[in-house]
Every structure is written in structure tokens, then in C-alpha cells.
Symmetry: C2
Subunit: 236 residues, 2 copies
DNA sequence: ACAAAAGTGTTCACACTACACCCATGG
DNA sequence: CCATGGGTGTAGTGTGAACACTTTTGT
């Protein structure tokens, strides 16, 4: 073997370095539709155009930390569920300079969203069925995030991150329908939910969205572990 | 709205920049087992330890271009099937410096692999069941790549990228078993393949791996399009 | 009393699983 | 002639899809 051992200096120095950004696709659920949080880009080029929330990664920050920082800045919430989508690195994807961007999607509880923040950052919750054109490759990021969300939501019980602890079955079904963009049969849906036995039914009802009222449920972490331990897998 | 428009200079300048690498998880199939291509790291720190193939992204290169460059360097093949796994950006993931790495997995045809390259780069095909400890977070990358590969291979007909055009059904089954790491029933497997009607059976046999010989098949792109057009989905 | 949404079971079709024997050939 | 791997069908089970009426309550 004629392998040469290089000095680290030769290897790490004199290489190109890049700006790295974290862009967030922030999903929320309201009015029976899936929405994402968009803002007007505050900087040239393309100032004023619709854009995802983003920020540059700094020296002593992981990619996830950078994304969390962006999420906290725009929502003031901590512990938001977040997952990496992909890295985007086309040479001219950002016309303002060479920037490699890592996209994350996040699920936020819209009940506890501070609407004053929307004002502050000129941000709005936009129905995913009415997405405008976004800057750079942000539309592609949203598309990829949606694809991933649809997959994940069908395989893992992450959907409960959209709700503030308790939720009704009709609301849960509406949410799945909003994510998959297709109707789901009510009886089959409830049958499947019931068969997993991972929810606790509460004694109280949500009487706001109907006269009769729908019972609240909560996700039971422990029951879910038992469910997994029995060799079954979440699937919806 | 009290949104300030920044000048691009303020926005893009004076931000941290990073070395960005593309690391490749190169999968190949031989001896009825899935293998990945590993090399001895040629540079300090950790020179001589097992490592994935990687390279730094340069100025006028996309992430995909950088990964392709790495793949071509180590395999001398072009048009290799490749897909992004994830970006890895923990602050101290590379102990030689701050490097953000984007992992790609690739599927190569081992029949046409030039073994002299293995010598040149001190590279070896290692059975995935016998993976050594790799440098940095490369083991995690391989794990993530395998998870993604298992999913993709079950949903899209990418598995044929492991073969040099033609292949036998026993070999195809062996490959699925190697990827999923579990036995598959021969009759059920063949029934499902047949029901999709996306392969063409050739008149010739592979007589090397058995006395009787197994018929060769080729993937038929057109039949696959018809299959999709009929509203069905690939699943294996 | 009526409108509006919540809640509840059964049937049917299809897909997945399990399973055992004969065939072709080289040595 | 025998050892080795290639090739073939059927029956049973479970899962997903279709489908309609009763209940509750606010107005």
C-alpha cells in the first residue's frame, strides 16, 4: 500500500469554508388545516419576499442547536419537537452568497402560540394548501419536509406534539386528514386508535366545537411502551 | 410591523464559516452479504483507523457533486446511485477541527469493481455484520444509512443498482435477505415479484452458482412505468 | 323540533403467511 | 446416483375498506 499519511495542517487548512444556515419548517394545526409559519425576508436580496425562518449556524453550535435557537426566537417555546429534513447545497441556491442550508421541520402547539410574535417578525401562519412562492429553494424544503412528516406521522406517535396535551378524536382525525390531504373513514380510524390502546379517555369534553361535545383523550407514554413491547408497531 | 431591512453585508459577513465534508457509505453485494467500502484514514488525527470515504466540499461544488467526486475517486465508476442520508454537525464530531459533514449512501455494482483500487487506497469491502469501530460519528452515519436504505429499497426499485444489469431471482432474494437481515420465504417472494410484472426473463442462465442454473432477469423500466400508472406501488 | 357533530359494528375483498415436493444438472 | 440449489401452488388468517344509523344537545 502506497498510502501517504498527510499532516493535519495540509488536510484541514486551505480548504473552502462555507456559511451554514438552519432553516425551519414550522408546522401547526388550526382551523382543521395544516399551516406553516412564514415570514417576510428582512434582508436583501429578495427583502420582503416570503421565506422560512432561518439563521446562520455559529462557531460553537451544533446544527440542531442552531435550529432550536431559530425556533425559540420565533415561537418563544422550548422543547419543540424537531427533526432534520435534509441539507441543501446547490452552488447558487442562495443568490446572496454561497450558503449551505440544513432544513429542520418542527411541530408546535398552536393553542399556546403568542400572536404578538407574529407582529414582531412579520410572520404568518399559512395554510399549506395556499403556499406562496418562497425565496431560494424553500419551496423544495417544504415539499421534502411534508413528505418526511407524512411518513413519520404514520410510523411514530409524534402527532401528539401538535396538541397541548389533551385532544379529541375528531380533532385528531382532522389533523391526519390535513396532513395526508385525504378523507379518512371515521369508524375505521377510531377502531384502529382503540386497538392500539395507547390513549387515556378523560371525563371531560370539548364543548366548543360541537353541541354534544367530544371527549378529551391524552397520549399515555407508558401504554405506548407496553404496546411496543408486545411486538406491535404504531401505524396510522 | 417593526421589521428592519438589513443590508446584505451585515447579514452575510462576519458570520462563522465551516469546513463541509461529504462522506459516502458505499454499499455493495457479494458472497450473499451486504458490504460497505471502508478505508484506513490517511491523515492525523486517528490516521490508520477505519473510516468512511470522504472529501471536503469545494467552492464551486454542490454537496452532491462533492459526494460524486469522492465516489468516482474510489470506484472509478460514474452514474452511481446515490442519496443523501443526513447532515452531521455536532461541534466536536471531528476532533481534528470543526467540520460539518453530509453523508450520502451509494449502491455500486461489485461485479465491475476494480480491485486494484482497493490496494491503492487501502480500502476494503467489509461485511456489515462485522463492522469495526469507525472514526468520529461514522458508525452512526452507517446506521442511519442502513435504516434509510432498508426503507427505500422496500418502496422503490433501487435494488437493481446493485446488479450489473442482469441478475437471478435467487440472488435478488439473497440481497433482500442481506439488507433486511431476515429470511424471506422463497415462494412468497417470487409470487410477489411476478405479480408486479416489472422484470423480463432472459433465455440464459447463471450456471456458476448452481448445477441446474438460475434464469437471468432484467429490470424493465417501461413495465415499471406501466405498473405505476396502474395505480399500484412498489413494495417488497 | 331540528340542525350539527359524536359515537358505534359488520361484511367483504385482498394481501400476507405458512408450508413440501419435484426438477435439472455436475460431479 | 446423489447432492445441491432452482422452481412451483394452495389454504388459512388477518388487515384494510366500505358502509348507515342513533345519540346528544344548543338554539
Amino acid at each position: 500500500m502506497n498510502n501517504t499519511i498527510f499532516m493535519a495542517d495540509q488536510y484541514y487548512l486551505n480548504k473552502s469554508t462555507f456559511l451554514v444556515a438552519a432553516d425551519c419548517i414550522v408546522f401547526g394545526f388550526k382551523e382543521k388545516e395544516l399551516h406553516i409559519l412564514l415570514t417576510r425576508r428582512p434582508v436583501e436580496p429578495l427583502a420582503g419576499e416570503w421565506s422560512l425562518m432561518g439563521g446562520f449556524v455559529s462557531e460553537n453550535e451544533s446544527l440542531e442547536d442552531a435550529a432550536k435557537k431559530v425556533l425559540f426566537e420565533y415561537t418563544q417555546q422550548k422543547g419543540i419537537y424537531m427533526e432534520q429534513v435534509n441539507a441543501y447545497g446547490a452552488v447558487d441556491r442562495d443568490i446572496g452568497g454561497r450558503v449551505i442550508s440544513v432544513a429542520f421541520y418542527a411541530l408546535v402547539r398552536l393553542e399556546e402560540f403568542d400572536t404578538s410574535l407574529a407582529q414582531k417578525f412579520d410572520a404568518r401562519w399559512i395554510n399549506i394548501k395556499e403556499l406562496p412562492q418562497l425565496v431560494f429553494d424553500h419551496n423544495k424544503m417544504v415539499e421534502d419536509a411534508l413528505t418526511l412528516l407524512r411518513f413519520k406521522v404514520s410510523m411514530q406517535p409524534i402527532i401528539f406534539n401538535f396538541f397541548d396535551e389533551k385532544f379529541t378524536l375528531p380533532a385528531l382525525q382532522d389533523l391526519y386528514e390535513a396532513i395526508y390531504q385525504r378523507p379518512i373513514d371515521k369508524r375505521n380510524f377510531r377502531k384502529k386508535i382503540a386497538s392500539m390502546n395507547i390513549l387515556d379517555k378523560l371525563d371531560i369534553k370539548d364543548t366548543l366545537s360541537s353541541k354534544r361535545g367530544a371527549f378529551y383523550y391524552v397520549f399515555n407514554e407508558e401504554k405506548y411502551r407496553d404496546f411496543l413491547a408486545s411486538g406491535k408497531f404504531f401505524s396510522l
